[in-house]
């Protein structure tokens, strides 16, 4: 059943028949509303990317221009330790390995989150360090449970909606 924009709508629930903000939720100019929402979301992502990058520069910049970022504190989450010695450990990045100085280096293949201050070329001094225990099995378990949850829930509630792709867009309809 389509919902036509008519002054005296026969369907009391039809959003098109109301004024005000309900116009945002009507079928009228549906594709333009979807495009506007997508455009605003893209603008939001771009603006956010710019603001975050200004306030929190990319970690890899320590390797590219070390003098500019000397003393700057960087934060990285869930990084795998690729090498370690008595006074430091290394992590891999897109611009090669980075060395992190700490009196308590974590073991190789462990996963760490840290705040570290740039002190030299590809070298940072750890300010705070957190070693994730069991990251190797907890992360895949997390993704597995999440995928099963989404698919399982959508399967369970599928009968609450009637999908009509033949109408041009996929919509739930009764």
């Amino acid at each position: 059943m389509g919902c036509k924009r008519i002054p005296e709508g026969s369907d009391p629930e039809c959003q098109s028949d109301r004024g005000g903000l309900s116009g945002m939720f009507s079928d009228r100019l549906w594709i333009l509303k979807a495009a506007a929402a997508l455009g605003l979301l893209a603008l939001l992502c771009t603006t956010s990317h710019r603001k975050i990058s200004e306030r929190f520069p990319q970690f890899e910049l320590v390797a590219l221009s070390p003098d500019s970022f000397r003393g700057h504190v960087f934060h990285l989450s869930g990084q795998r330790v690729v090498a370690a010695d008595a006074r430091s450990f290394q992590i891999g990045t897109s611009v090669g390995p980075m060395r992190l100085l700490t009196p308590t280096p974590p073991p190789v293949d462990s996963y760490v989150t840290f705040n570290a201050r740039a002190v030299g070329i590809r070298t940072l001094e750890v300010v705070e360090l957190f070693v994730h225990s069991g990251y190797g099995w907890k992360r895949p378990l997390n993704y597995g449970i999440s995928i099963v949850t989404v698919i399982g829930y959508l399967w369970l509630v599928r009968r609450r909606f009637r999908w009509r792709p033949e109408d041009g867009v996929i919509r739930g309809r009764y």
Binding site: S48, H49, S53, R55, N115, E128, F130, V157
Partner: protein
């Protein structure tokens, strides 16, 4: 990130007070959307973390919810939008519990402020260990829902 089962329970428990089953489903689907949008940008579009961070902001959740609600039938689109947005906001609030060394588990005030916010209660990787507790909460919620339904009948 907390697993989506934890997010489902966080939205489904208050969902027992939602009488329309379609709106209730949209509340739960709304709580999946920030992670689906973020991982979609990250894996499919190959974007960096700062680009997708706004999927876990209050404004981002509103925009994603509006986009999603356009795919719902017109008659329930407005309450559907409210349910999807509420689900998205519940997701962000649940993410606050994560510990991230003070850097913030998400950036909820984007695009106005890029500052991260966290309560820092739990290692994000350990949230998956809460699943038995989540399952117990879900079971209690479903029992209460069934009891409310009987009382109404």
């Amino acid at each position: 990130m907390p697993d989506l089962f934890t997010h489902l329970v966080a939205a489904r428990a208050p969902g027992i007070f939602v009488r329309d089953k379609r709106i209730q489903a949209l509340l739960v689907i709304g709580t999946f959307m920030p992670d689906i949008a973020y991982k979609g940008l990250f894996w499919v579009m190959q974007t960096r973390e700062p680009f997708g961070a706004s999927t876990h902001s209050f404004v981002g959740a509103l925009l994603i919810s509006y986009l999603c609600c356009l795919f719902v039938e017109e008659a329930i689109r407005k309450p559907g939008f409210i349910a999807l947005a509420a689900g998205g906001w519940i997701h962000i609030l649940v993410d606050f519990i994560k510990f991230n060394l003070g850097a913030g588990s998400c950036r909820p005030l984007l695009p106005f402020s890029p500052a991260g916010v966290e309560l820092g209660w739990i290692d994000p990787e350990n949230v998956v260990l809460l699943i038995p507790i989540d399952a117990a909460i879900l079971a209690v919620a479903l029992l209460l829902e069934r009891r409310f339904a009987r009382v109404q009948q």
